[in-house]
Amino acid sequence: MNIVVCVKQVPDTAAKLQVVDSHVTWGDSPLIVNPWDEYAYEEALLLKEKFGGKATAISMGPESAVEALKTCLAVGCDEAYLITDPALKGSDASATALTLAKAVQKLGDVDLVLLGKQAIDGDTGLTAAMLGRHLGWTVLTQVIKIHEIDPAAKTIKVERFMEEGRQVCSAKLPAVVSVIKGINEPRYPSFMGIRKASKATIPNWSIADLGIEASRVGASGAFVAWPEIYPMPLKETKVEWIEGGSPQEIAAKLADKLIAEKVI
């Protein structure tokens, strides 16, 4: 089984974000592996341990994103590639998916591509299905359990997390699968792993290396633009304390308020 894991580097979940002229910064908060992508690399490692083969991590991003790939190597991925090119700046999900698709094709002989459900910055959750379409492969999003894989028959059976419940489906490989929390417990990198990863060289691929024309990616290739970013206008909420001599008195006062709010 040859598995590719797509990881994105994002600002820490607890980072205090600042926006100046629609440009987002996060001070000295660390950049981390997108939390959902930890489930993707863990699943890749579990499958590799079961079936043998190779787990390869790829990321598209600025040079700093090499740190996210080092984390992947530290937990046990075999190889990592950084796709970085000034022409990629401003890419939308479609251009990102195209770039990742070209990287998967360049790696060749891939059975499964794993992604996280969503990146916590762009927050679109679009990349997996777009990548699958670019590759012409099966797409299975929001997977909470991989029941079985038959590498010889090239089939996979999964459980997907949907609004109405869990959908169980079987499908053909190769496939693009996005995973969610609950599928596994991501491991931490070992001390040895971190040491090994810190010495590894991670090749950089440019769009020329992937055979992508500059007009198809970056701001020029994007179908959508996000010209204005600003802080969520805070609702002026000053908490109104509900107090009373007994729980019953508090409950009665709160019930009055909520009925007056017309939310019940």
Binding site: M130, V168, I229, T237
Partner: protein
């Protein structure tokens, strides 16, 4: 007539989903200014009755693709129909509710259509003839105004409950165009085998009232008083990640950055401190009530009403109070 504004009606087993029609309200908010009527696209099996429902909420035209192979949502055959119909019509925008299905459908079909996708919109506006879409980014800490740069139609999904359900009773009727499926079963790579549904649980998706518990409930049985309150209010039970990770309640109840994003009319947080990652999932709730022992808990910065106290005393008292008032 060629309408510039289309809606895609999300359905499950032939029934429109509770939020599906909200897309029509979003469409109405832009159609008038664009001088356009609204066309609805329905794809599925046993979905023909949805056409009349669409006219009833004010849609002008309906396109239906009815086929046995479309009984369960699968992205390949749905997207093939979607891309074919919209590739021919090329309207300005297609709007759908932001469900898992619609996200996959729009993403997949956009590659064929060579057009853009904007998800989870909370606002739509026409500025200088262009559609400007507002959506939360960075886990709801920031907002973003987005536009199409090229390609048509722009595919926009609207966040559940961001737009009100449209009024029905428009008493309209109009043309229904039938189209056929594009892919045959032998061309599909996926088979749906089963649905596993959690019995007797109200889902937090789209719920108008959510009673949520955190580490403060102190164990699986600590959710019982919350369930009782939710039941009286006709709401769903939510949870913080701390409660889910402790194994007290299944992940499907988790609210937050790595759980569900909800926007109910009323969110009652019980024994939840209010970490930023939890806030990411519930900060847009209309009215937030917090019940917590610690008056300095960050959840009180978000709450409209705060009770400093023991949830095991307050929640049952509240249940009793509402039981009386609501006559249950």
């Amino acid at each position: 007539m060629a309408n510039q504004v289309w809606v895609y009606i999300d359905q499950f087993k032939g029934q429109a989903t509770p939020s599906a029609w909200e897309a029509v309200s979003a469409a109405k908010s832009v159609a008038e200014q664009l001088g356009s009527g609204i066309t609805a696209l329905v794809i599925g099996s046993g979905v023909e009755s949805l056409a009349q429902q669409a006219f009833d909420v004010g849609v002008d035209e309906v396109v239906v693709c009815e086929d046995g192979s479309l009984a369960d949502f699968r992205v390949e055959p749905y997207a093939a129909v979607f891309a074919k119909v919209l590739g021919e019509a090329r309207p300005k925008v297609v709007i759908g509710t932001a469900s898992t299905r619609v996200r996959d459908l729009f993403a997949y079909a956009s590659i064929d259509l060579e057009s853009g996708v904007i998800v989870d919109a909370t606002g739509l506006e026409i500025k200088d003839g262009a559609i400007v879409v507002t959506r939360p980014v960075y886990a709801g800490k920031l907002l973003c105004n987005e536009v199409a740069k090229k390609g048509q139609p722009l595919l926009v999904s609207v966040r559940v409950r961001a737009f009100p359900p449209p009024q029905s009773g428009a008493g309209k009727s109009g043309s229904v165009t039938k189209v056929s499926a594009v892919l045959g079963e032998d061309q599909l790579t996926t088979k749906v085998l089963d649905y596993v549904v959690e019995e007797g649980e109200v889902s937090v998706d789209g719920a108008a009232i959510i009673v949520s518990g955190g580490r403060g409930v102190n164990g699986p049985e600590g959710f019982e008083p919350l369930r009782a309150l939710a039941k009286v209010l006709g709401g769903a039970v939510g949870a913080s990640r701390a409660a889910v990770d402790a194994g007290w309640i299944p992940y499907s109840h988790q609210v937050g950055q790595t759980g569900k994003v909800v926007s109910p009319d009323l969110y009652i947080a019980c024994g939840i401190s209010g970490a930023v990652q939890h806030q990411a999932g519930m900060r847009t709730s209309k009215v937030i009530v917090a019940i917590n022992k610690d008056k300095d808990a960050p959840i009180f910065n978000l709450a409209k009403y705060g009770v400093v106290g023991d949830l095991f005393e307050i929640v049952p008292a509240l249940t009793e109070e509402f039981r009386k008032r609501l006559g249950k």
